[in-house]
């Protein structure tokens, strides 16, 4: 599904990723771990198409299609979803209106009809229930005044609504208490299928107890320095990152 080939990326002439290779197949869950500043969030932003980062070499390929020239929204239309580490507050736009707009713009881009209001409402309710989101929450301004946990739950709610092919969860576990973590992980697991794939970016093993990865990669200084199965995460938890440097 996703092939990241020898990606080099920099911001303000400072190279952050230097030669990342990663292949993710449909139905797989990959975890990317690594110390602060190793380039984890940059990798997710580069896949999602953030223009601030300059890709100097390599390419990102989704289902055989090169994403390099595509704007972030076009990548979203192709099925890429990035759950933000720090979701942005947008006062004046409610959760419901935001997700409606996102869904209908995506459908438009795919040449589909807008979703009828009734179906939209039904879908919103269904997915809100999945993530145990209060209905009142849906009419609040997007992320404005949300607690850390509410923001992350809202991210996964949007993911549930958009049904991406490739979901990248960037430190979705940070700021979550254990109950919220379970709800979020449960939501992600229910959305998982043999047709989609998930990349989980995290510092800690904790989330991986709930979203069990098929592969774990360790990122250090903009490179993947080690890959392995889920037991690698446990090893990292016990030993830290120093032995890999």
């Amino acid at each position: 599904m996703l092939k990241v080939k020898n990606i080099h990326a920099s911001i303000n002439d400072k190279e952050i990723l230097n030669g990342i290779n990663l292949e993710v197949k449909a139905g797989e869950v990959h975890a990317i771990m690594g110390p602060n500043g190793s380039g984890k969030s940059t990798l997710s932003a580069v896949i999602a198409g953030k223009e601030e980062f300059e890709v100097t070499e390599g390419s990102v390929i989704l289902n055989g299609e090169d994403l390099d020239e595509l704007a972030p929204e076009e990548r979203a239309h192709k099925g890429v979803f990035l759950s933000f580490q720090y979701p942005v507050e947008i006062p004046g736009v409610t959760v419901t209106n935001f997700i409606k707009t996102a869904i209908n713009e995506t459908r438009k881009a795919r040449g589909e009809e807008e979703l009828p209001a009734k179906d939209m409402l039904k879908l919103i309710r269904e997915k809100a229930d999945l993530l145990e989101i209060d209905r009142k929450f849906l009419s609040r301004s997007l992320n404005e005044g949300f607690s850390g946990g509410e923001k992350k739950r809202n991210e996964i709610f949007q993911m549930a609504m958009l049904e991406p092919k490739l979901a990248i969860l960037d430190e979705t576990d940070s700021g979550l208490d254990i109950d919220a973590l379970k709800i979020v992980a449960n939501g992600v697991n229910k959305l998982k299928s043999k047709d989609n794939a998930v990349i989980v970016i995290t510092h800690y093993q904790r989330l991986l107890d709930y979203i069990v990865p098929d592969f774990v990669h360790v990122l250090y200084n903009g490179k993947i320095v080690k890959s392995g199965g889920k037991e690698l995460a446990l090893e990292l938890e016990a030993k830290g990152y120093d032995w890999l440097k």
Partner: protein, 440 residues
């Protein structure tokens, strides 16, 4: 002959053909006003209050002061500018002349009619003598100019204990009967004790010719009365507007003036609130969305003279292309006005490098037990918010529109007439070039 000379020399002819007998009070008010205008002339950029708004090129036009009024305007020509989805009283003026055919007036529980009849009929003499040009006088030369030539406009007189059952729309159209036209409508609004009125005002040029409107409105809000005034400024690129609105409030009254500036070449809004009692609330709300070389200057004043009053001011601006904006918000809290709550907020977004905003909050506080705050921001669109929205599949253009829309939303939220809210929402969406798939 320059415009000032033309105006001054036209005054005598105007008075002589006038509808008033020359002994009336109004006649002496006008004579005094033209003298003041002759003395002061048009303001220039040397005048501190006009530092960022130049009338120089505007007053070079050879305006026709008394435009021909032969063009017939039917309902079909104007209906898109009317709010048809609500019941309302309407006062429609075509090239400065009242159209009784298109209007819907009343004298039943209150007077919703025209100034020309108020100025001439004995039954309104007392109202005119008590109110006309009492807050507007000796203010600025453009208001004086309007006073000198004031002959027509809305006259709204609400007796006490009257809830006006439907909003009143005041629409001033110009047909472009001549190449360059100057109009000077004059409105007088008196809201009696415990009464309530909602007014929507609009100036609209129906042609491509040049129009300068120099409008003055005086609003008197008596004890415990409520008055809401909405100004829709979405005129053509050849139209300029200088609007001066004066509000005088008595105790426990609540008044709001809401200004939506989307169109027009040059717009200057002078808005002044004067408190004449305790426990008064004043609201000043505005949003400007400008493009090309448009210019809007919002000059506001709230004069707190009595204790225990409050004022809330919220102005937002979005400036694209080479547009320019001015916000000058003056709040005076006089020494006697203890326990005043005065809040002012002005937020601006600059979209393009060529756009400018000059913002000047101006607080003069002479009382010591008050709560006053002001906040003024000038910024750009939040790039991280844009990326966030794009990553959810919302194209950049729509994401920008949605962000800007959300930026202005708290001003729109203040609108108390639902249909007007929808209308303004649509106008904002149109001006931001965004197709909102929902109602906010």
């Amino acid at each position: 002959m320059d415009l000032k000379e033309k105006l001054v020399s036209s005054f005598l002819a105007f008075e002589n053909k006038g509808i008033l007998d020359l002994d009336s009070n109004v006649h002496s008010i006008r004579s005094k006003a033209i003298q003041n205008f002759e003395r002061d002339g048009f303001p220039t950029k040397k005048d501190e209050e006009w530092k960022y708004t130049s009338l120089r090129s505007l007053v070079k036009n050879d305006f026709s002061l008394f435009p021909k009024t032969e063009k017939t305007v039917g309902f079909k020509n104007i209906k898109e500018y009317l709010m048809n989805d609500i019941e309302s009283y309407t006062l429609i003026f075509i090239d400065g002349v009242f159209s009784s055919f298109l209007s819907d007036t009343t004298h039943d529980d209150c007077d919703v009619c025209v100034l020309s009849s108020a100025l001439t009929r004995p039954k309104y003499k007392m109202v005119v003598d008590n109110y006309f040009n009492t807050i507007a006088k000796d203010n600025n030369s453009l208001t004086e100019l309007n006073t000198a030539f004031s002959v027509e406009g809305a006259f709204i007189n609400i007796p006490k204990n009257t809830i006006v059952p439907k909003p009143i729309q005041i629409l001033n159209f110009s047909t472009g009967s001549e190449k360059e036209v100057m109009l000077q409508p004059r409105n007088l609004v008196v809201v009696g004790e415990n009464s309530h009125v909602q007014i929507i005002e609009r100036h609209q040029n129906l042609s491509k010719n040049t129009v300068l409107t120099n409008a003055v409105t005086e609003i008197f809000v008596h004890k415990r009365a409520i008055a809401d005034y909405y100004k829709i400024q979405d005129d053509t690129e050849n139209s300029s507007l200088i609007d001066s609105t004066f509000v005088s409030q008595k105790q426990q009254s609540v008044a709001s003036v809401n200004t939506y500036s989307f169109g027009g070449k040059l717009t200057r809004n002078n808005l002044e609130f004067y408190h004449e009692g305790e426990h008064i609330t004043s609201h000043l709300n505005g949003i400007s969305i400008l493009h090309d070389k448009q210019h809007v200057d919002n000059h506001t004043l709230v004069n707190h003279k009595y204790p225990n009053c409050e004022s809330h001011e919220l102005y937002k601006g979005i400036y694209s292309d080479k547009s320019t904006g001015v916000f000058n918000g003056k709040v005076i809290v006089q020494q006697e006005a203890q326990k005043t709550n005065a809040f002012q907020q002005n937020n601006n977004i600059i979209i393009d490098d060529g756009a400018t905003i000059n913002a000047k909050p101006q607080l003069e506080i002479f009382a010591d037990d008050v709560k006053c705050s002001h906040g003024c921001t000038i910024g750009q669109l939040d790039e991280s918010a844009l990326f966030y929205m794009q990553s959810r599949g919302i194209p950049k253009k729509e994401a920008k529109g949605l962000l800007l829309f959300a930026f202005g939303n708290d001003v729109v939220e203040k609108i108390k007439i639902p249909q007007l809210k929808t209308r303004i929402t649509k106008l904002i969406a149109k001006n931001l070039d965004v197709d909102l798939g929902f109602e906010l």
